[in-house]
Amino acid sequence: MSYFGRLNYNYAGKYFLSGNLRQDEYSALGIKKGTFWGASAGWEITKENFWATSGLDKVFSSFKIKGSYGKVGNISGIGDYATFSTYGSALYGGIASSIYSASGNKELTWETSKKTDIGLNFGILKGRIEFEIDYYKNNIDGLILNVSQSPSTGVPSSVATNIGSMYNKGFEFNVNATPLKSTDFSWNSNFNIAYNKNEVTALAPGLTEIITPTGSTATGENVNRSIPGYSIGYLYVVKTGGVDPATGRRIFYNAAGRAVTYQHIVPTGQSQWTYLDNGATAPAITQGADAVMYHNTAPKFYGGFDNTFRYKNFDLNVMLTYQLGFWVSYGTNAGLHDQRYWNNAVDVLARWQKPGDITQFPRAVYTDNVSYGNTIPLDINIFKGNFVKLRNLSIGYTIPQTAFGKTSINRLRVYVAGQNLAIMTKYPGPDPEVSSNGSSSSGQGSDRNSGPNARTYTMGLSLGF
């Protein structure tokens, strides 16, 4: 149920003001009502008299300053019955039963964003080059995420919860240009780059962290952790220090920074975890006790470079996209080096074999799934995700209208296009852009047994009457 009001004001085509106010109620929330508003202002400087008198109109073909502030509500990704604890059907020896299977949150309410936007648009060279520069800050409160509860609560599902606050702020810079334009040939180009800083600023009372699991509860791993002071879905791993040349065991660093080695098969009287410096039994390394906040998964810079060329009836589009300044947990890599009976990467052949061997691959021990990070997420599987992708390449030819004579066809274009044809990256996995957790905002940068984005080829005809 919604109420909505809007006010617009325009003074002489120079000054623009607008405001809006709305109230919404949403059935899937526990606290259903939300009130939102916004205001914006714009100034078309070119309409001012001084602009022409000062001669600035010779340089700039357009110039506009705008700003806005508002509060909006977000409810995307919430299940229809997120507030309900529900029972599903089950069987007990053939007898129908009704089993407690999902937990709800009666306190669930709107996630809100307070958005500030300040921007500048201008064109030069009679509009052949247009610039757009924006600063934004988006404060998100009551951020909704599905939160895992500790297993001993026995809560059967993760629970949609307003977990805290975070912000996104940054700059966007956009250039549209037409570097070349003649009767037969044209080149349109767009380049954009955005810098974004994301930080979780607070978590709801009682929450100290949000762990986002990759995979099922029993067999998955928890490499993404969100806590105040860091960007969302930060990688949370145990640090390692190579392989001990004397024993061929992986060296792990515990919370105190002390080196601990691991042996998978434990001879009687020895221990699985041992301090490197004195050989004494050490407590087991666990992610909960020993992991560190290691790297961000949210890109710092991203953008694209889109070019369209036309020559007579031919057209060519080349679009590149890029993301920089982020890291990915390549969980698949742990599986590829795991010492169980399945296909392994061949680089493990350079493993430690005798005392004194200097190598990054620990001694091979059948069934060892710890030393390579399959059970505890390790820093060795974290890689920079920086990439440039050839997102789209298409070539088309528009058949001249003269070819159709008096038929009603007025346009026919044949084209070949490819998506994701090439990627430039140092990331060792198939594609740093994918996440095993889909679009979950707190679970990005976890690539465990995920395939790359599909490379697609398209051939087509487009026909207009």
């Binding site: 909505f4 509860q149 297993p151």
Partner: protein, 487 residues
Amino acid sequence: MNKRNLYIAILCSVIVFTSSCKKEFLDPALKTSVAAENAFDTQFRIESQANSLYGSLKNGSFYGGRYLVYGNVRGEDFINETGNLVTASDVWGMNLANSATSVKGLWSQGYLTINRCNVFIDGMTTKGTSVVGDALGAKYVAEARLIRALSYYSLLQLFARPYADGNGSKPGLPLRLTGITGPGSSDLARSTVDQVYTQILADLNYAETNLPATNATAALNTTRAHKNTAIALKTRVYLSMGKWAEVITEANKLVPAVAPFKAKVNVANDLVTDIASVFKTPYTTAESIFSLPMTSSASPLDYPGTQNSLASYFYFTNATPGTTEFSLNPTGIVANTAWKTTDKRRALLFTSAASKQFVAKFTTASPYTDWVPVIRWAEVLLNLAEARVRSTNTVDPQALLLLNAVRQRSDATTTLAPATVADFTDALLLERRIEFLGEGLRAPDLTRLLLTIPLKGSAPSKGPTESGYIWPISSDELSLNKLMTDN
């Protein structure tokens, strides 16, 4: 500024929309599932929830499969054939990680079951008992508390030091007794082992008082709790605590002083003539005090599921017997000559073409719908016998009769006659290894007495003070429960 040419335009508009919907749509009612608010409205719903608690216990990750698997393969009588960490090769190898499938899966399913019991008990208190009446309400709560007790007991056997180590003073489990249906309850510290056992016994005592003496059918006497179920479980719990006098008190409520050792009261639990019949259709003999039933329904799932069933671990993972996860250790119990070749329990073994032996108690083909025994009458008899020997420190005559009752049921030509108390307790443990082979009791038997878990194959032994003697705590719990401590 030229005012004459100043063009003033004011465009002012105010628009108010009201998009209206029916108010009741804001408070939707669920169409395909039952909401917690309505779960205790009718006796039918309460009854079907009570069944779901057993169903949760029966989950293949817990008592319907893996809990028994772990109890078997931690002991010395099995050899791992596949090296598959998902199917407990690390449990067998005594080198579990905090994040192992077995550790995380058992922990979470155990607590999922406990919370379902708690939610049910809370719902009965606030609503359900007023719907079904006090007597029936107490019966349902008794069932929930029995399942909760059994769940806590089972988790204690793997995740906490045995009671014998410091009389229960060591860290036990987070003791959760109220239902949790929403966020915000993740953190809870461990209670001591003794505190958890105290709660288990309180639950079982309540269950004994409020459960029916018998249920309507043999099937219900096997699959739903009755007074004997609570009493039998108490003999197990007290034995694990080394409280011999209490074992005797509980067992004496059921077991007569002299043969035939058939339950005096309530359900007429008894040793059946042929042990093999316990593991065959219809699985509802007088010996089966409590078993978990299975059918072949896949949706909703009514069998243990992939990589969970006893048959798939110990008998076959496809149609060929003897191709599976665990064979019997050739130097383990099967090599013991005190277990005669004519003993009928030897007929519950399978020898493959490669001369490896396998447990053949659970042999129903995929999807492996063998019922899973939780506790049977033979265990009550042996629990009583052991408590009598250990408490009197003599070669107790009733204990000797009980031991021979179990032995001679399957091996009529042997009469056991241990000469000393030590020989007697050894004979009792040996009998349990034979009688309950494949039923998950061996590892708890070793740990409750703080005995070394012997080596088997390439798996090392674990002394009672070594790490690995009990399991590490689930890494998920350590991550999400800030008050939890590792073992």
